[in-house]
Amino acid sequence: MDITQLLKGVLDLAVLAVLDGEDGYGYDVVRRLRAAGLDDVGDASVYGTLRRLYAAGHLTSYVVPSVEGPHRKYYGLNASGRAQLETSTKTWSGFADTMAALLAGEEVAA
């Protein structure tokens, strides 16, 4: 099964979850997702998702000047983002449970 296909559906949730702990800039989010085990996450997907979540009003952003490199745009959750994270988490948990039960049932049947 292709993980990238699965990721597409849950990347919003993954990004929101990563930012819930601590604000981060784009590449920082990519790193944290990889560190969490989502090795196949595409850089551009994460950046695109950040932009979309920001445009949807779920994120705040601020620029932190950096001495040695380009300035970093940090993102963090606002109230809307946290609410979104909460509902998405519920949806995901329900879905995952359903899938787990389904797969468990199939295994038994097989």
């Binding site: 932009r51 380009p70 970093r72 745009k73």
Partner: protein
């Protein structure tokens, strides 16, 4: 492009440019938003991985497509057939695809941001200069004064300082180019244009002015229609007899005394001074004609030629009859008028 590129790594610059090109159909405001983090991202990746960016991130086109999908933008229009996506945008994209990677183009693009401070100075100056050009129809160099002298200088200095400060701050904060900023800069470019046109105009009028001055406000002397100067007037009566001491006036009673003092061949013609005094508008004027011989020495002769016989006509009251020359048509240096 418009987003602040703080990276000087040519690979990053090239990759970023190609990503932008792949997203050329996205409305500019949306695009800036979307690509705000692009440079940061590419620099991070480049500093972290030794290999080329393509290896780590895929092709710029793939990156753009992924970004587009994740950000929820519509798919790129199929660029396979040029007829569908027509117009100048398409032409521009095609030219950029063909020439964008040329070394000279890349070098110029890399160099242009260095010129920004110069633009900050120019736009500050232009803002004031354009005001001066429009309202005073003139641009003073190097600093526009607005017709206020030192106060105008201060205004110009303040405008330049503010512009540079604004530019520095925008650069420091890496503020992406907004529509508003783009329009303001465009407006200031128009100001530059206005000021330059006015300057060029001023320049060309100063070039031509001296000549105009000598024709317009210099003493105008009598000339024939073909430009031949008129150095004297020799009146004749209805009986064919030459007249002397004829006083000429114009319709307003102003004396006509603006004879040319030079002939076409450079001979100087001066009214004779001395006794008796002749009015400036008494004709024919008694004149000294100064010619130069082959050695450059002046040769003075009189005009009209001094009469050898008795005066043939009655002089006017102010002129002594005995001194009055009698113009006799015929001598070499005298024109032979045909009344």
């Amino acid at each position: 492009m418009s987003a602040p590129t703080t990276s000087t790594d040519p690979e990053v610059t090239a990759y970023a440019r190609q990503v932008r090109e792949a997203l050329a159909d996205v409305p500019p405001a949306r695009l800036e938003e979307l690509l705000e983090d692009l440079d940061e991202h590419l620099v991070e990746v480049a500093s972290e991985t030794p290999g080329p960016l393509d290896e780590r991130l895929g092709s710029p086109a793939a990156y753009a497509a992924e970004l587009r999908r994740a950000a929820g933008l519509p798919e790129a229009p199929t660029t396979g057939s040029g007829q569908e996506v027509d117009g100048w945008r398409w032409d521009l994209a095609r030219y950029r695809a063909r020439w964008g990677d040329h070394r000279a183009v890349v070098a110029v693009r890399a160099f242009l941001p260095e010129l920004r401070p110069a633009w900050w100075v120019v736009r500050g100056w232009a803002a004031v200069a354009a005001v001066e050009a429009v309202f005073l129809a003139h641009v003073s160099l190097p600093l526009p004064t607005l017709g206020l002298g030192p106060i105008g200088w201060l205004a110009t200095g303040a405008a330049v300082a503010w512009s540079v400060r604004f530019g520095l701050r925008a650069r420091a904060e890496a503020v992406p180019l907004t529509h508003r900023a783009a329009f303001v800069n465009l407006g200031l470019s128009v100001c530059v244009l206005v000021a330059l046109i006015r300057l060029a105009d001023d320049q060309s009028s100063t070039d031509y002015y001296p000549a105009e001055v000598s024709y317009d406000s210099g003493p105008t002397t009598l000339v024939h229609e073909d430009g031949t100067p008129i150095t004297n007037i020799v009146p004749y009566g209805p009986d064919g007899e030459p007249l002397t001491g004829v006083l000429l006036y114009d319709q307003d009673g102003r004396p006509i005394d603006n004879l040319s003092t030079w002939t076409t061949d450079g001979t100087e013609v001066q009214p004779q001074r001395g006794v008796p005094v002749q009015p400036g508008n008494a004709y024919p004027q008694r004149q000294d004609v100064v010619t130069y011989d082959g050695y450059g020495s002046p040769q003075t002769s009189e005009f009209p030629a001094p009469a050898t016989s008795a005066p043939s006509s009655t002089p006017t009251s102010s002129v002594d009859p005995t001194e009055e020359p009698a113009p006799s048509p015929g001598p070499t240096e005298q024109p032979a008028p045909t009344p």
